[in-house]
């Protein structure tokens, strides 16, 4: 007789609390395949944990985003936010889809150049641009988005020495009615800092004011804040035209559009609650079109959307190491995915789906990572189906920031594979190994030998 599928025994006390009107189930089906490739096959071949990126989803996302904006506004340009995910394979997918590069350091600038992005299509943001970075940006004709006056003066000096004009924009921060207000980057709109910087640029002979930039926050849940921001940038651009008869070529609205992840502390899942890209597009495009720009002189609209385009294109596969109980009887499950490779678990309640069939029974579970550190908590409360040791899980929507902010800490960082639209699997980043890490280290001669 064939043996039946095993499930660990479960007993749960029925509590007389308020019933959960949204039901208790978080999952209805296992996630056995990603883009028609079996999760089990991927893990058998590449091990666990494993990042899996879907090229098809990236392309779908960027095309959908472009459509959302291009159907509402005549001139649109996306620039891929390198810091969100600067794996070359990911960047090049976006570049193939027509996105420029948006970088925030000399290292990212070099990565974009290495990816064969023309210098004039690199947007250089961020508060830390060294003298060498500025020289590199000017000589490559890049668009330098100035963050502070010290940088403005440096550009003035360096461009003067190089006898080459720098193409610049200023980053503007402003009150858009949201909290927190991001006023640490750029020049403030309301108190006149922005105008002060614009005046300095317009009077400079070595800087050309090409655009205006803002980036009002991250994981924004209010499309209206973008309408306010677009309106203020339009006012500045029209003011520059009136005062200096100089046309601003582009308005860069930055990024910060929310993905479909669920922020910690929110009641409803992000997939139900977060605004769609169309809602952000509508807010921005309608504000610019309704502003005082003459219809034939509308500036190019640049978007630096990162998270909303890449988050749901990546999954993190992992394995159950053990099931335990806390002293109060709560179930805990330890998986081989730690916060060192899933940085976003600090602010998202990531969706975790078993990769094999399960029954309708679930248990409130704390999910811990494998690190010998108390902070290594992947989910502090999740209603999970009953998992056994060695079962596989899929953590969804991990594409943004995890593969750039991850740390080599206690464990080695796992490989990353990309599934192309034809279903071929490519390793786009190798698994770390000890030899490679030791290449960075030097042991002084007197510390080489010891006896114990």
């Amino acid at each position: 007789m064939e043996k039946q599928r095993y499930e660990r025994p479960l007993i749960q006390k029925l509590e007389n609390n308020m019933p959960n009107k949204f039901g208790t189930r978080t999952e209805s089906a296992p996630m056995t395949h990603i883009d028609d490739v079996a999760v089990k096959d991927l893990m058998d071949k590449y091990g666990s944990p494993l990042f899996v990126i879907s090229e098809k989803t990236i392309r779908t996302n960027i095309r959908k985003a472009r459509k959302a904006f291009e159907t509402r506004y005549p001139k649109v340009q996306f620039a891929w936010s390198y810091k969100t995910n600067y794996l070359d394979a990911v960047c090049r997918t976006f570049h193939q889809e027509g996105s420029w590069a948006e970088v925030v350091s000399g290292f990212e600038f070099d990565k974009a150049l290495n990816n064969k992005v023309d210098g004039s299509k690199i947007i250089f943001n961020g508060p830390d641009k060294t003298e060498d970075d500025i020289k590199k940006a000017i000589s490559n004709n890049a668009l330098i988005h100035i963050d502070h006056l010290d940088e403005l003066y440096s550009i003035q000096e360096i461009a003067g020495e190089m006898k080459k004009k720098a193409r610049v924009a200023i980053r503007v921060n402003m009150d858009t009615g949201i909290y927190p207000m991001w006023d640490r980057f750029g020049f403030n709109y309301e108190n006149g800092q922005a105008w002060d910087a614009l005046n300095k640029i317009m009077r400079s002979e070595v800087m050309v004011l090409e655009g205006l930039h803002t980036h009002i926050g991250t994981f924004m849940l209010s499309p209206n804040a973008y309408a306010v921001a677009a309106g203020k940038l339009a006012d500045l651009a029209i003011g520059v035209k009136d005062k200096y008869q100089h046309e601003i070529r582009y308005i860069d609205m930055g990024g910060g559009f929310a993905s479909k992840n669920s922020l910690k502390g929110t009641y409803l899942p992000g997939s139900d609650m977060n605004p769609s890209i169309d809602e952000f597009a509508e807010a921005i495009a309608s504000t610019l079109i309704n502003s005082n720009f003459p219809p034939d002189k509308l500036p190019l609209l640049i978007l630096e959307t990162g998270r909303a385009l890449i988050d749901d294109a990546a999954h993190l596969l992992g394995t159950v190491i053990s099931n335990k109980r806390l002293s109060d009887g709560r179930r805990t499950t330890i998986i081989d995915v730690g916060v060192n490779i899933l940085f976003t678990s600090f602010w998202y309640d990531h969706k975790i789906t078993p990769a094999q069939p399960f029954t309708q029974y679930t248990e409130n579970t704390v999910v811990y990572g494998p690190l010998c550190m108390n902070i290594d908590v992947i989910r502090d409360n999740i209603n999970l189906p009953l998992l056994n040791k060695d079962d596989h899980i899929v953590i969804q929507s991990v594409g943004a920031y995890n593969m750039t902010q991850w740390m080599q800490f206690i464990t080695l960082r796992p490989p990353i594979v990309m599934i192309d639209p034809e279903g071929e699997v490519h390793v786009i980043r190798e698994k770390e190994n000890l030899d490679r890490l030791l290449e960075f280290e030097n042991v002084p001669e007197h510390l080489k030998d010891f006896t114990l």
């Binding site: 043996k3 039946q4 660990r8 025994p9 007993i11 029925l14 109980r325």
Partner: protein, 82 residues
């Protein structure tokens, strides 16, 4: 170690403890274990039965059955005979 005499368990996995008025749900394997405890089967006998019937291994069964019994104890559903 036996399940308290007055504990009632339904076919659908609903457990009622009249002494405290508390109720619980168990999954089918949990219900089977409670049934076997009611029949005064030992942990070894229960584990053997699990291994015969289900596609699993001795380590997993030992760990899970002990964990389940510790939860029954946590909920005061069993009493120790000795």
């Amino acid at each position: 170690m036996t399940i308290k005499n007055d504990i009632a368990i339904s076919d659908s996995g609903f457990v009622f403890a009249p002494g405290t008025g508390e109720s619980f749900t168990v999954n089918p394997i949990g219900a089977e274990i409670i049934q076997m405890l009611k029949e005064e089967k030992s942990v070894e006998q229960i584990s053997e039965r699990m291994l015969e019937k289900y596609n699993t291994d001795a380590t997993t069964v030992e760990k899970d059955v002990n964990d389940f019994i510790s939860m029954l104890r946590h909920f005061s559903l069993i009493e120790m005979n000795d």
